[in-house]
């Protein structure tokens, strides 16, 4: 560590003081499309911060149980020392510098140090396997790599044959590396030391390179995770990123008083935009957790004011709260349920500044003091002023829960090619089923076939070394295709994303079909882990359901239902009946949708095995590979649609150690549930025929 740690036994004093919560200015929403040239690149913005925010904290990292911090002045010094050290090792303008590791301040410094030298930082997913890492390293042609520890060094040495251009590896943690061949290996701290010593001679060259840089130069190359085919390197220029940072900071009035926890992978565009771009632009503090396992405790200690998490995080947190409340005493459950019921109406109203009666206000005060505030504190989100979620649709009930607690949780929609920000929900205009209005400076257009296109100052420069892909994504007028289907809500003018454009189709009767819309509603139920809906070009919709073994297992235990395996539990009539009830409820909710009302599920089955990444059925990040599921379970889908009631199946599975085996099962296409669902379907159909005239003005 570069700063001598201040040891203190008491943990309480190690928690940094929270920033004051003075009222903030209202956001200025005028569109700005360029950054002032004196702030046109990251190194220049950091330089400004070093004087303007001098003694304010820039980076913190918890190490040895204590938060170590660096001010902007110190961070700037660290960055310059590192840049000089890299220069000394021969880093040339245009070189790629790969960064592989978890979120740590020196990696964020490496980004700016590389930019100082005119080089391009390329963060790589730290959990990428050797082959994935080799592809990215090969493709970007990195001469330098800055990595965390022995694990990453070993990975790079393993793929050395495929990456002959890699010359120097810098590491942070020397542990286990002492006996390695150090001709190409350097400890980052020693590179910095060397740079510091030679700064007098190298300073001029650094300034020259920094002055030569322009806003259109590449600031970073981010490789997309690649759900289809090989990853593509998205080149974002300083202009792209800084204009986006400037506009988005203004949108939510983010300033140097914010505090953010950097815990999402550095190679993901979100972390780059939140922890690098916005943090540098607004001058707020980036806090790095001690390690992956301490994220939650660290979040509580830091009390982040600006927080981003994928829906999975919020779902997981809510599930853990629910499970713990189920085990609480009846009196406590009664208090909790009551407070939450009241908060669900009062909380969002207060957040959005709608009028609230004085009795409700008083009750909310009491609830807040006794139940909601302690609950918030346990989640670590009590200081969050602006919270975002994105990436997948979030269940409206989950979303409402956090807003009821008083967390200003909003949704945004974006992608790597756009520096994240395409649309976001303004304060006070939050609708769970939309992703908000176009961000400042972003133009959105919906194609004839429903695909969302955009034009934005944040739109990427190009795909690295892949002009065909660039041309295929962006047309001559600068419109970029997102690959998502969506539309603007006629009521509030907000964008609604329905699904990936290639998954959207029509039923045989010509009504719109978007599987994800229904699947997301199903997945909200804790006992449904995964759902896959079919119906494209068919007469009606059907679904596969995966039960959540922990939630259903817990339920089975409470209800004295014995089971020996996942398969047995999944086939249990009571489980199927309960899933059937959920689907019934979902159908009622789907029926209310003006476009997708016909996506109701008429028949379903509970799969005898969990969809698994080892079988290629879902991606490692948990997204269903629809084509593979359709191919593999074709007979099941046919059976659902031809009305059979049982089916013999034999499925090949891959075990975790790579061995293969088969599972045989007699799958019931649940007569009981089917009848119930059919009744409900016709019930809701009747309801809908009443509601339909009301709900279909278009």
């Amino acid at each position: 560590m570069m700063i001598v740690p201040q040891w203190n036994v008491s943990d309480r004093t190690s928690i940094p003081a929270r920033d004051d919560q003075r009222p903030r200015r209202t956001p200025a929403l005028t569109s700005i499309t360029t950054v002032p040239p004196e702030l046109g690149t990251f190194p220049r913005v950091v330089q400004r911060n070093a004087t303007r925010f001098a003694e304010r904290p820039a980076y913190r990292e918890k190490a040895f149980g204590i938060w170590q911090s660096w001010t902007w002045t110190q961070a700037h010094e660290q960055i310059r020392a590192l840049a000089a050290g890299l220069l000394d090792l021969g880093l040339m303008p245009g070189d790629a510098v790969a960064i592989i590791g978890r979120n740590r301040p020196p990696f964020y410094w490496t980004v700016v140090a590389a930019q100082y030298c005119g080089a391009i930082p390329v963060p790589v997913y730290q959990d990428a396997n050797a082959d994935e890492a080799a592809y990215v390293m090969e493709h970007c042609g990195a001469r330098f790599a800055v990595v965390d520890d022995q694990e990453q060094v070993d990975k790079l040495l393993e793929i050395a044959e495929r990456t002959p251009q890699l010359e120097h590896i810098l590491y942070l943690d020397a542990r286990g590396l002492r006996t390695y061949d150090h001709r190409r290996l350097h400890e980052l701290a020693s590179v910095q030391r060397c740079g510091r010593e030679r700064l007098a001679e190298l300073g001029a060259e650094l300034e020259r390179r920094s002055a030569a840089a322009s806003g259109t130069d590449a600031a970073v190359v981010l490789y997309t995770s690649g759900t289809t085919g090989r990853p593509k390197g998205v080149v974002l220029s300083h202009d792209n990123v800084l204009v986006t940072a400037m506009n988005s900071c203004a949108f939510d009035a983010l300033d140097e008083r914010e505090s953010i926890l950097a815990y999402l992978p550095m190679a993901w565009v979100g972390d780059f935009v939140f922890s690098m771009a916005q943090a540098t632009w607004a001058g707020f503090c980036v806090n790095c957790p001690e390690n992956a396992g301490t994220m939650h405790a660290d979040l509580r200690e830091i009390g982040a004011t600006y927080f981003f998490a994928p829906p999975r995080f919020f779902e997981g947190l809510l599930t853990s709260i629910r499970i713990r409340m189920e085990d609480a005493s009846a009196a406590r459950r009664w208090l909790f349920d009551g407070a939450l019921r009241r908060a669900r109406t009062t909380g969002p109203a207060l957040l959005e500044g709608r009028p609230v009666g004085w009795t409700d206000r008083l009750l909310h005060r009491i609830d807040h003091a006794l139940i909601l505030a302690p609950l918030l504190n346990a989640t670590g989100l009590s200081s969050v002023r602006v919270g975002y979620t994105a990436g997948e649709a979030i269940g409206p009930e989950i979303f409402d829960f956090y807003r009821a607690l008083g967390i200003n949780l909003k949704q945004l929609y974006g992608q790597t090619e756009a520096c994240v920000f395409l649309t976001q929900q303004p304060d006070g205009q939050v609708h769970p089923d939309t992703v908000g209005v176009p961000c400042t400076g972003v133009e959105i257009r919906i194609d004839a076939d429903g695909e969302v296109h955009y034009r934005s100052p944040g739109a990427f420069r190009e795909y690295y070394k892949n002009p065909e892909a660039t041309a295929g994504t962006r047309d001559s007028e600068g419109w970029v295709a997102t690959g998502d289907a969506g539309f603007f809500d006629s009521g509030n003018g907000h964008l609604r994303i329905i699904d990936r454009a290639k998954d959207v189709g029509t039923l045989a009767n010509g009504h719109l079909f978007a599987p994800k819309f229904v699947e997301n509603k199903l997945k909200f139920y804790p006992d449904i882990l995964e759902a896959v809906v079919f119906g494209r070009d068919r007469a009606f919709c059907t679904a596969f359901v995966n039960i959540d073994l922990s939630a259903v297992g817990n339920w089975a235990e409470r209800n004295n239902i014995a089971y020996a395996s996942y398969q047995e539990l999944a086939a249990h009539p009571k489980v199927c009946a309960s899933i059937g009830e959920h689907i019934e409820q979902v159908n009622r909710s789907v029926a209310e949708d003006e476009r997708l009302f016909d996506c109701q599920i008429r028949r379903f089955l509970v799969l005898h095995k969990e969809l698994d990444p080892d079988d290629g059925e879902i991606t490692r990040t948990g997204k269903v590979r629809r084509r593979i599921v359709e191919d593999k379970y074709g007979t099941l889908i046919e059976a659902l649609h031809d009305g059979s009631t049982t089916l013999d199946v034999e499925t090949e599975v891959t075990y975790e150690d790579g061995r293969r085996g088969t599972i045989r099962a007699v799958l019931a296409l649940h007569d009981v549930a089917t009848v119930e669902v059919a009744q409900v379907a016709s019930d809701t159909a009747r309801q809908r025929s009443g509601a339909g005239t009301r709900g279909e003005p278009a």
Partner: protein
């Protein structure tokens, strides 16, 4: 076994250089009896500075007794023990601990109700100088001492990557994690000789890989001499420099993993050919 596969060459060469040095401990003609039962029969071997020394053998071969002799908990009826060249007299366990010998146990012996951090801090007790009264007042020297000890404990927590369970009561942790905490408590006393009694017992493959990595790292980073007992042959052959093989209280083999693996007496003992 990826933990070992990743960097076999460097760790092997490092230990070879270290092994050429003087013995830390020499055991000469050790015989240990419990009443009429002879647990150890006339065994001699040495543990050299900076090496990983394994003691293996079938169940009941006398391995744990041997480790207890090394740690000074059992006093052999015959034979002598030389520690750093000097004849070691019969000592109390805490006196042995002050000599720089630390150990872990086959059946975890942690304070279940205390946190990971507190358990590891107990490993520093032999280094504490302030008295009961000073610690109760907790000002001046006592406070500074506590801070210094906490720093050592935190470095070990960082080394073993157990930050996320720092405050968790040890009783709530998984078996593999408890083993790691116990290793931490032994390490924090900064031993020059570390004795591990079945460090991988009851662990799954992944936990074994982690533990192997930690043992090698301890050996390499801190230069700690390690003597261990282990059942898992794969692990023993991968991480040790030299292996002693025991059977029915007698030494039947001694040498590098390769020598031992090809030794007929050892093969017989393990495959059961020689008995019955």
């Amino acid at each position: 076994m990826s933990a070992q596969a990743q960097a076999p060459a460097p760790s092997a060469s490092a230990s070879e250089a270290a092994v050429a040095q003087v013995p830390v401990m020499e055991l000469i003609g050790i015989t240990l009896r419990f009443g009429g039962v002879t647990a150890i029969k006339d065994i001699s071997f040495d543990i050299r500075e900076g090496e990983v020394r394994a003691i293996i053998g079938p169940n009941g071969a006398g391995k744990s007794s041997m480790l207890n002799v090394i740690s000074g908990f059992y006093h052999p009826q015959e034979g002598e023990i030389r520690y750093r060249g000097e004849l070691r007299a019969s000592m109390k366990p805490y006196e042995i601990a002050r000599l720089g010998v630390a150990r872990t146990f086959q059946n975890i012996a942690l304070f279940k109700g205390m946190s990971t951090l507190d358990n590891i801090m107990t490993g520093r007790l032999t280094h504490m100088r302030s008295g009961l009264f000073a610690q109760a007042i907790w000002k001046g020297a006592a406070e500074r001492e506590e801070i210094a000890q906490r720093e050592r404990a935190e470095r070990i927590i960082d080394f073993l990557e157990i930050q996320s369970i720092r405050k968790a009561p040890v009783g709530s942790l998984s078996y593999g994690m408890q083993k790691r905490v116990e290793l931490g408590r032994a390490l924090v006393s900064e031993p020059s000789l570390l004795l591990l009694d079945e460090p991988m017992a009851g662990m799954n493959v992944e936990e074994k890989e982690d533990m192997s990595r930690f043992i090698l790292d301890v050996n390499e980073e801190f230069g700690t001499t390690i003597a261990l007992i282990e059942h898992d042959m794969g692990v023993v052959m991968d991480i040790s420099d030299r292996v002693v093989v025991m059977d029915y209280g007698a030494k039947i083999g001694d040498g590098t993993p390769d020598e031992v693996r090809n030794d007929q007496a050892v093969i017989d003992a393990y495959l059961g050919v020689a008995h019955d």
